[in-house]
């Protein structure tokens, strides 16, 4: 890896009751790189990015942003530099599509509503959503369109770091391919650092420069996306081919 890490997890430990989800989790992502975090269900992938976002407080360890410890900073403060796409979209039902996309511009950045609407429309066009969708409520859209609205909301304020939580979950292969391509386009356009968690290997290969495998609360393997199939690591082989877990 070249350059200082843009985002780093250092010795993160997090337990929920008796279950130790993250146990000495160390990971860093260099500026402008796209890292995909793979792992089985319940392996702690979502917890790891929520710790980075400040949505979950770790029991121990630190999150560094440009080398600065931000572990104790509130999520809303850190979020000025982040953009996030949630698994289910997490769009606000009571707001229209453009109000969802422009939410941060209006409520956090103090952009006036007319300008915010213009920027929302521009960003929605980048993710191939027509102007006719602007005034619709999220409930009136298909799952694929909701994901595109969520992607537009994540990138509208030109964040430095993007988090994608299972971006293709629940989508058919065609829509999943569209979302992967749009993610790639937006990350490259912004020159952002990206962290994606997914079960979808096709998605991981498309959007990731690097891939890390999370197992039992810590990183078990990490390498370039192109090396995923030839890593030789038994856990990676197990994950990619779905065969019996190595002893």
């Amino acid at each position: 890896m070249s350059g200082a890490p843009k985002l780093a997890w250092r010795g993160i430990r997090k337990a929920f009751g008796p279950k130790q989800v993250l146990d000495g989790f160390d990971l860093d992502v260099a500026e402008g790189r796209s890292l995909v975090l793979l792992g089985g269900s319940g392996s702690g992938k979502s917890v790891a990015i929520k710790v980075a976002q400040g949505l979950i407080r770790p029991d121990a360890g630190a999150v560094l942003l440009d080398g600065v410890d931000v572990t104790a900073r509130p999520a809303a403060e850190r979020a000025r530099r982040y953009g996030a796409l949630f698994q289910g979209g997490a769009l606000f039902d009571s707001l229209t599509v453009w109000e969802n996309v422009a939410f941060r511009l209006v409520h956090a950045d103090g952009v006036d509503r007319r300008e915010a609407r213009r920027r929302a429309a521009e960003t929605l066009a980048r993710v191939n959503l027509p102007k006719s969708a602007l005034e619709l409520r999220p409930g009136a859209l298909s799952g694929g369109m909701q994901k595109r609205v969520a992607l537009a909301r994540a990138v509208v304020a030109d964040p430095e770091i993007l988090f994608f939580d299972e971006p293709t979950a629940g989508l058919d292969p065609i829509n999943a391919g569209v979302i992967n391509r749009l993610i790639l386009e937006q990350v490259r356009r912004l020159g952002a650092t990206a962290v994606t968690i997914t079960h979808d290997l096709a998605s991981a290969r498309t959007v990731g420069d690097e891939i890390a495998l999370l197992h039992e609360g810590a990183i078990a393997w990490r390498g370039p996306a192109a090396d995923l199939d030839r890593s030789g690591h038994p856990l990676v082989h197990h994950f990619v081919h779905g065969d019996a877990e190595p002893a």
Partner: protein, 255 residues
């Protein structure tokens, strides 16, 4: 489990819940006084909590005033004190029944709606999304609901007081041979400003408690649809219990 241990665990859980709700309420109040104010949210909540509760609060007050008049007439007849009916109806409505029944109606309508809405937002990660959009959920979700309930419930109680007294008047003049003008004059001569004011102070406190329980249960909902359902039920039950408990405390302070 050992019964003593079970009682101890329940007591600890209760203490944790009370402590958590108190801190939650303090954070909500602090958020209500810190910019930015989400005016659209506040106005929306004033409509949801106040305006749309008017019919049910009005009907409840009307029937309660009428029933109260009938019962007081029966009890007064045994003591040859029927003539005090207007005064007792007015006192009962303004000091007790207006604020308590309006708060219970608000618990049934608003606490349930608040818990369900915020709980659903929790289940679908919308609260997390708010935070990643640099927005404090306490300012956007909790503060407007607390403020709306604290403002709306006293206004609802003013309406409930008028309609409740009107309900008593209606029954007294239509079925109990009271003179309408004399009834109203007796009510107005007897009623003191503190009777109404103490009811409105109670209403503001009850409004805060009802909204707080709705927000707290919704915010801490866990386990998808089932968790949201449980949060809604718990919000209504705990709001009602809190209203009765606070009523005892406030009544003892005001008398």
């Amino acid at each position: 489990m050992n019964p003593v241990a079970a009682v101890g665990a329940a007591a600890l859980a209760l203490c944790r819940g009370v402590g958590s709700a108190t801190l939650f309420g303090a954070r909500g109040v602090a958020a209500a006084f810190a910019p930015p104010v989400f005016w659209r949210q506040l106005l929306g909540q004033l409509m949801a909590v106040g305006w749309w509760s008017l019919p049910v609060v009005g009907l409840t007050a009307l029937f309660t005033g009428a029933t109260l008049a009938l019962n007081i007439h029966t009890a007064g007849g045994r003591l040859n004190a029927e003539q005090f009916l207007p005064q007792i109806v007015a006192l009962g409505i303004t000091r007790e029944l207006g604020p308590v029944l309006a708060a219970l109606m608000l618990a049934a309508r608003a606490a349930a709606a608040i818990a369900a809405e915020i709980g659903a937002m929790r289940a679908t990660e919308q609260i997390d999304a708010l935070q990643t959009l640099s927005t404090d959920p306490f300012r956007y979700l909790v503060a407007p609901r607390l403020a709306a309930a604290v403002v709306a419930l006293p206004l609802l109680v003013v309406v409930a007081d008028v309609i409740g007294i009107a309900g008593g008047w209606l029954v007294a003049t239509a079925t109990l041979d009271f003179n309408g003008v004399v009834y109203l004059r007796s009510t107005l001569d007897y009623l003191q400003p503190w009777d109404v004011l103490s009811g409105l102070i109670k209403a503001a406190v009850f409004g805060f408690l009802v909204a707080l329980t709705g927000c707290w249960h919704g915010y801490h909902a866990q386990g998808g649809a089932r968790g949201v359902g449980r949060a809604t039920t718990d919000a209504v039950v705990s709001a009602a219990v809190l209203v009765f408990a606070a009523n005892v405390l406030l009544t003892s302070l005001f008398t």
